[in-house]
């Protein structure tokens, strides 16, 4: 699909699109199992079939989507879910700022559109690329669209297939959820400096979950962990 649309472009653009395709391929394979698990879990939490690709297509941020599904109720707590989404994705602010100096040659409106697709992996690939040879928009968009399509399609397949195998929930299937989170957290690990804020966040959240009404444990835990990181950053 990418290759076909690139055939009308000048050769250099076409090469960049193909280069993006090659970079994206192994990551796409990694996205599929995450997407299947997310789609299946969202359906277990009461998402309608169309709501799963709607969420992953409009939001396109795996960590925040797993968090939203974990906190999902019917009807959802809008403020909690939107707030958690913002916090989980707040790392994009730093990523965008790091990429910004390489984007000066690109018209702002075009870039505002293209940044919709920026995810951790695209950002890492494009920034490495930009440092070597300058930012390449065809390369960035090629990687972005490959990953975007595999995420939306993967989660949609999970949403269709999940309820078919629904019965496995009683065999410990709910442990798939913390398992995915642990793997996501491993990717965010920044050495031992991460241990204390995370530990405090978890401890406060567990305590808040046991004594306070539902909905308080995530903001209280996250704010406590953030406060520890704030104190740590001084030394």
């Amino acid at each position: 699909m990418q290759v076909a649309s690139a055939s009308h472009c000048p050769p250099s653009t076409r090469m960049e699109v193909l280069r993006g395709l090659r970079s994206a391929l192994p990551i796409m394979l990694g996205f599929i199992p995450f997407g299947l698990v997310l789609g299946a879990q969202a359906r277990m939490r009461g998402f309608a079939l169309f709501e799963v690709p709607m969420m992953t297509g409009l939001n396109f941020g795996g960590g925040s989507e797993f968090a939203a599904v974990g906190l999902w109720t019917s009807p959802p707590h809008i403020l909690l879910i939107v707030g958690v989404t913002f916090l989980v994705n707040s790392r994009h602010l730093l990523m965008g700022a790091a990429l910004a100096p390489y984007l000066r040659a690109i018209p702002r409106n075009k870039m505002l559109f293209c940044l919709f697709f920026m995810c951790d992996e695209t950002w890492a690939l494009s920034l490495t690329d930009a440092r070597k040879t300058g930012f390449s928009l065809p390369y960035y968009m090629s990687v972005s669209l490959c990953l975007y399509m595999s995420w939306v399609i993967g989660t949609a397949i999970g949403a269709v297939a999940g309820p078919i195998m629904g019965d496995v929930s009683r065999y410990g299937f709910d442990m798939a959820f913390p398992a995915v989170f642990f793997v996501l957290l491993r990717g965010m690990w920044k050495g031992m400096a991460s241990a204390l804020p995370w530990g405090v966040s978890l401890g406060v959240a567990v305590a808040a979950y046991m004594v306070l009404p539902k909905g308080w444990y995530v903001p209280l835990g996250a704010v406590s962990g953030g406060a520890v990181a704030w104190v740590q950053a001084r030394s």
Binding site: P33, V37, M55, L58, N59, S64, G70, S74, I78, I81, V82, V84, T85, F86, V88, N89, S90, R91, H92, L93, L94, M95, G96, L99, A100, P101, M111, L112, F116, V168, Y171, G172, F173, D174, M175, A176, F177, P178, A179, V180, V183, L184, L185, R186, K190, P197, W198, S201, L202, Y209, Y217, V218, G221, S224, G225, G226, W230, Q232, A233, R234
Partner: protein
């Protein structure tokens, strides 16, 4: 379209808006120098703190079988791929709940 669906769609739209703001926010600020190093550290720590707090109910269940399964899953997550970790999580959850009924 029922009231529940309207709430769901509204939540999903606002989620998408919040995420898009994080994607363009850094670009519009243009330069990392506008963010104080200390603020940057807190922003780096925030996503992990939020994700781990979301897991609180799993740790607060108080069931020995769940805590053992979580520990085994955590160890698996440090070394294995996603698929293996998920299988270890499901398998250990099934196993410990079978041998340690609550």
């Amino acid at each position: 379209m029922g009231a529940g669906t309207v709430m769901t769609v509204l939540t999903l739209l606002l989620m998408a808006l919040a995420t898009y703001c994080t994607r363009i926010g850094g670009y519009l600020l243009l330069n990392r120098q506008h963010i104080a190093p200390r603020t940057a550290k807190v922003m780096e720590a925030a996503p992990g703190c939020v994700l781990i707090a979301v897991l609180a109910p799993d740790f607060a269940s108080g069931r020995m079988a769940d805590l053992l399964a979580l520990t085994v899953t955590l160890v698996a997550a440090m070394r294995c791929s996603l698929l293996v970790t998920v299988l270890v999580g499901i398998g250990s959850g099934w196993f410990f709940r079978m041998i340690l009924p609550s």
